[in-house]
Symmetry: C2
Subunit: 397 residues, 2 copies
């Protein structure tokens, strides 16, 4: 008598998980330092010492009742207010604390955002390639995730296909820029065009279409890249943020949902989040982390290694004749496989201890993802293996 919906999901083991398990097992045979594991998007740089020092100081000096007591369900008011100020300063917004809802990282923010703007049967549109977890995240709410096919030329948005997909039931568009898995950042032109289409379609359909902007990679952008703050370009934007990547704190589950003050009923929507929390067991993110974040709002880990790694890999891929759009951020790169079936391509790579992820589950067959959140020294050694793999398996190129 188990609930079948969840039992069925147990069968569908994620490709990434399977590959990561291969990497771990292979590591036991030949030493993990010799497995070029590009499977997992787990930050590879440490949280800054300043953040750790804040945590220690809070634990040593704050009253335990203030430090570990119940946070209000919307988050600690002072933390929300400081966060609003920081976003205003950085992005020219006009949030107040009342527009901010503290969450258990981006997954928590998304879980509330979906429930804010859809009821079961409604639709949310996202753009391939996309983070595969979006499927269960959305579909388990009862809403339906629809996926616009990729624009493989530059991995900006395939607007033609997108416009055809918008309908009566479209309540939101789920945007992830900088993007997992493509590493691409949507340009200002892309966001402006997206905003125009959504304004027009909202009018035609007689209901708002929201942008749910999932931006955990916001702070990881590379030199010279145009990286607009999406909410600045479209009033009805719900921005979902996490400190998992920028501060390398994925295990601590801390982030927020920021609702554009120009969005109709934005303060009410934040209040509604407190009600949504009651149904999904959210309550609030950890209080120690809320307080520590509030003192380090503009701090990031040393993210420069990701750009270093990206450039090394990108140059090698180009030299080896791969088709690949140069990433503008994140710690992912997304080349086209050297044969039609990327799964076969990635299987062959495993013989060279290269763990690459075929992009079928990202909605973009024929491509693969490399998560280069690993040490630069290892990246360099991996490129020797990559060269050998390509030259051996695809000699005619």
């Amino acid at each position: 008598m188990l609930v079948q919906q969840y039992v069925d999901m147990l069968g569908g083991k994620s490709v990434i998980r399977t590959l990561s398990e291969f990497a771990t097992a292979r590591g036991k045979e030949i030493g993990y330092e010799n497995v070029f594991d590009y499977s997992l998007g787990n930050p590879s740089v440490a949280v800054p010492q300043a953040f750790t020092d804040t945590c220690i100081r809070l634990l040593q000096t704050e009253s335990p009742m203030a430090l570990h007591g119940y946070s209000q369900s919307l988050g600690i008011p002072e933390v929300r207010a400081k966060l609003a100020d920081s976003l205003n300063k950085r992005f020219g917004m006009d949030y107040t604390g009342d527009h901010i809802f503290m969450t258990s990282a981006a997954a928590g923010a998304l879980a509330h955002a979906f429930r804010l703007v859809t009821v079961p049967g409604d639709e949310i549109i996202t753009f391939a390639p996309f983070f595969p977890e979006y499927m269960p995240y959305v579909n388990l709410t009862g809403a339906l995730l629809k996926v616009v096919p990729p624009n493989t030329e530059d991995f900006q948005i395939n607007f033609e296909a997108f416009e055809k997909m918008i309908g009566e039931k479209t309540m939101a568009v789920l945007v992830n820029s900088p993007n997992n898995p493509s590493g691409i950042v949507y340009s200002t032109a892309t966001i402006q065009r997206l905003a125009e289409i959504l304004k027009q379609k909202s009018k035609e359909l007689g209901h708002e279409i929201y942008i749910i902007s999932d931006e955990p990679y916001r702070e990881i952008t590379f030199a010279g890249v145009d990286a607009p703050y999406i909410s600045k370009y479209y009033d009805n934007t719900l921005s979902c943020y996490s400190y998992s990547k920028s501060l390398s704190l994925p295990g601590e589950r801390i982030g927020y949902l920021a609702i554009n003050p120009a969005c109709a009923d934005s303060k009410t929507m934040v209040q509604m989040c407190g009600q949504i929390s009651r149904g999904i067991g959210h309550n609030c993110p950890p209080s120690l982390m809320q307080l520590a974040i509030a003192e380090n709002l503009e701090l990031t880990a040393d993210l420069s290694v990701y750009e270093t790694n990206m450039n090394l890999i990108y140059d090698c891929l180009m030299e080896l004749g791969f088709t690949c759009v140069k990433p503008g951020g994140t710690f992912y790169i997304f080349p086209k496989a050297l044969e039609e079936d990327a799964k076969i391509f990635c299987e062959k790579a495993m013989k060279y201890d290269l763990v690459l992820v075929p992009a079928d589950s990202f909605g973009c067959p024929g491509y693969f993802r490399m998560a280069y959140c690993i040490e630069t020294e290892k990246v360099k050694r991996s490129l020797v293996a990559l060269r050998k793999f390509v030259e051996t398996e695809y000699p005619q190129r």
Copy 2:
């Protein structure tokens, strides 16, 4: 175009919240130390220094990647295994780590438990008096919470009414012992009788009926009280625990769900929790807290103040002629009001700066709750006010 379900909930401000706001406002007028605020169930004793020391040591010595990295969605394996050992030792169970799912406190555990055993339209039965949050917790899943009327004689279970309420759609019974708001602990005899009824009804109906045991107050029981570990008496038990009360860590959101190994498919159910998490944005509880808890599994805050306070209040209530069942645990006491409408009674009490909570929303009209998680010195002063209140407003008694 806001989702109406949550908008409607915004109207229904909780009585407890309203009273707590009154207490804060009144505190600004006369000093909070002079407001006898019995409204909120917020622990009043500090987390033990040993726990704080563990956190600081982990932050100072652990690799940041290990400390703050992604925890597996079911929790950190070593933490789950240690927790299982501790439960086995204390309660004679035979859990392994595979039967434990780490959660964002009890609210997170309950959110998974409900979804494990019900689909929309199913029913869960609970017993008055009950924690009012159970209503949105259950009903927002699409299942329906049904409430058995109270047994006001001793606040054990009203079995006659309960048996009549069990039907085709009953999938679980939600039990909270030690109980908020009554402070009563269900006796071994109560649990045995409950287990017998559920076994028989499961057989009759041809499907399991689970006990979902919400036990955040498990460690707060008073001298001489019979406090059975419920899962020991019924195989199909899902135990939901939180360290919010035992370690005074409500803001840190750390707890677990433990599924009885004798429950059919118990390991599969834990795996299913990982899938449920994807739909509700749970992911895992904070990694620092998981690791700190694992080193302090049998530690509690100094909980003795609650029993001291309870005895002072209980003796005074008896002297003043109240009807009240003596609490066996928690930090709540649940007397009968001195007039039929407890709301009017509690309003009158406010004139004496006594903040008492009428129990209508707990499913037990005519009673009121006092949360005595406050300083003993303040309890003593409050009893002077209580005596004056009763003697002035109810002089004929």
